[in-house]
Amino acid sequence: MVAKDTKFKDALKVIENVQASGRKILFPDEAMDVIKSSGISTPAYTLVKTVHEASVETKSMGFPVVLKIVSPDVLHKSDVGGVVIGVENEKEVERNYAEIMNNLFKKVPDADIMGILVEKQMPKTTEVIVGGIRDEQFGPTVMFGLGGIFVELFKDVVFRIAPVTETEALEMIKEIKGYSVLNGYRGAERLDIQQLARTVVTISELISDIGEIKEVELNPLLVYTEGVTAIDARIIIK
């Protein structure tokens, strides 16, 4: 692979490794590696392969944690009982680890299992989606919308041709119908729209710079009054 002039060198390395393995979809931990190395904040996370490792790692990152199955044969982790949130202590880690494995064994008996992603659980807040899509006609684009039902039910999303500037990203954020949810609706505190805009810019640059990426999605990205955190990422490559 030709060395490229990009500020996303570490992200590119992760993607090249996945390409070399012949896969098109990054594992959740790999996708998080790409996001983190691009300068977007993530919670502490690590991929573990044994219960023992899980105990050690969760103790050092602190509770509560989230456990997520990592398998090339599982696309929708929650549908097969592959995700547990609110794991509060070591005992629960052990019990839930076993349960996830058991669920997988029952529902997808032949699944290849890479391990379990343990992730520090973040406090609840407003969830948004930031995505990058390489369009067949127009090339790299960036998408923004509020998370959950706002996207699914109301299709309240906005697209731009990537890359975008911070000003354009702010315009995108203000353009969605649900903007007031971010901007301190009914006396709630205004969320960190500036940092959210910078994240939109980063994703737009990531998909513009790295031609190998077909789709990248932070879903959800948590938006706080100070800062944003990506707790799940999905990346598809060519």
């Binding site: 006609q137 127009f138 090339g139 697209f159």
Partner: protein
């Protein structure tokens, strides 16, 4: 390479020429004769010696002089042969009107690939297939196969129209002639086997006679080239786009219409925005947006004065302004003071300014002088002169247009159509002020000027 020869050919060979009125080729020729096309018209058909009094040649090979362009409307199966022949004769441009290509799928796709390959290998530029082709209103050249008696040829003007759809351009030409909107060039490129909207936008960017470009599109030829071409063009001209095939059913229909895949509508919206293109919804908005951009300049801001002698129209226009993001801001005190000295106290001076049914021509002049000419608070004005009161005469058109000119701000007129007001409408439009027949259309037209202003467009 320039597309000039598609619009201003010195010599054109019409393949399959005939006088048979059921054959579209005969209308292509009679249209050209009727238009007074000044270039050389050369019919080609082995079955005739003469067509409409013009010497007809058995094939391109027998023609001695240089031909700039062929117009091909024969059965699709025979098209590759004609292209091979014209390549041999060094004819570099072709417009293929015939359908029967990629839009059919299967064999049609193969046939279109074949003609594409011939054109690429033999250096022939191509418009079509499956299209109406072109109208150049200044060189009096057209390949339309629809008689001008049924589709009125629009006047000469400054609107360029690009369209994947033939039926749309034909309807547009007819509507434009009725509206009195003048046209420079029209291109229907159908399946877009070679020349597409991006290259045409590049070409029209340098066409001095085209000031506004209206595009009907279902899909895009080359997304990035389109954005570059449009971004560059929209610095000096306006582009209005009507995107069809926005929903799944429409996207499917678009594919079987011209054989091109349309893609996600949201991304088209993003592309239009990036390119400085004004997107419109439907044929009526398309016409209105082109018209207002031809006649008025963009607004510097969104503060709009609404001035009328009919209260109800003032209210409904204000409502619609708010719906489209236009600000019907309160009339500033300085303007109110100036007007209260000149007007009776029952004139309502907050915005909308409602001069009631007892006002007349001169009052429009007084109000516009204070609120638009002498004061820069408002960026634009929507004027709604209701003509029925006896105090209102056709002289109001001159007064309003004079004030609009002095203010240097964009002004649009809302006037609900009637037999009498149609006459007044013509008076306004002669003087360069666009008239729209309903509050909805008038406000939408104004919002186009405000949107263009926001984009920093010319």
């Amino acid at each position: 390479m320039t597309l000039e020869k598609f619009f201003n050919p010195k010599s054109v060979a019409v393949i399959g020429a005939t006088e048979d009125p059921k054959n579209i080729t005969s209308t292509i020729i009679t249209n050209l004769i009727e238009m007074g096309f000044a270039g050389k018209l050369v019919p080609v058909n082995p079955h005739h010696d003469e067509v409409f009094g013009l010497k007809c040649y058995p094939s391109l090979i027998e023609i001695k002089e240089q031909i700039d362009l062929t117009v091909i409307s024969i059965h699709s199966d025979y098209v590759p042969e004609v292209l091979e022949q014209q390549a041999g004769c060094g004819i570099r441009n072709a417009i293929i009107i015939s359908g029967g290509f990629a839009e059919l799928g299967g064999k049609g796709v193969e046939l279109e690939e074949r003609i594409k390959n011939i054109c690429r290998d033999k250096d022939i530029r191509l418009i079509g297939p499956n299209c109406i082709g072109v109208l150049d209103n200044y060189s009096n050249f057209s390949t339309s196969f629809l008689p001008w008696t049924k589709v009125k040829r629009p006047e000469k003007g400054n609107l360029g129209i690009l369209s994947q759809s033939g039926s749309y351009v034909v309807s547009m030409m007819d509507m434009l002639s009725l509206e009195g909107i003048g046209v420079s060039k029209v291109v229907s490129y159908g399946n877009r086997a070679d020349v597409g909207e991006s290259e045409l936008i590049e070409y029209l960017t340098d066409d001095e006679l085209t000031h506004v470009i209206g595009i009907y599109m279902e899909s895009v030829d080359d997304g990035r080239r389109f954005i570059n071409a449009s971004s560059n063009c929209s610095r000096s001209k306006h582009i209005v786009a009507l995107k069809a095939g926005r929903h799944d059913s429409g996207i499917e229909a678009a594919k079987s219409h011209t054989g091109a895949i349309a893609g996600r509508y949201e991304i088209y919206k993003a592309a239009f925005r990036k390119s400085g293109i004004v997107e419109v919804n439907g044929l009526e908005e398309f016409m209105d947006a082109c018209k207002v951009l031809l006649m008025q300049k963009p607004a510097k801001g969104n503060k709009v004065l609404v001035l009328t002698n009919g209260g109800g129209f003032g209210v409904s226009v204000s409502d619609m302004c708010s719906d489209t993001g236009l600000d019907v801001a309160h009339t500033p005190a300085s303007i109110r003071e100036a007007l209260s000295e000149k007007f009776p106290e029952y004139f309502i001076l907050k915005n909308p300014i409602d001069m009631t049914g007892s006002s007349g021509d001169e009052d429009y002049g007084i109000a516009m002088k204070s609120a638009l000419v002498d004061n820069d608070f408002f960026d634009a004005a929507i004027i709604i002169p209701l003509m029925p009161p006896p105090t209102m005469t056709e002289g109001v058109a001159g007064i309003i247009s004079q004030m609009a000119k002095e203010s240097g701000k964009p002004v649009v007129i809302c006037m609900v159509s009637g037999i009498y007001t149609e006459k007044i409408k013509a008076k306004f439009e002669e003087k360069g002020l666009p008239v729209f027949p309903s509050p909805e259309r008038c406000v939408k037209a104004m919002s186009v000027l405000v949107e263009r202003g926001r984009m920093n467009g010319c």
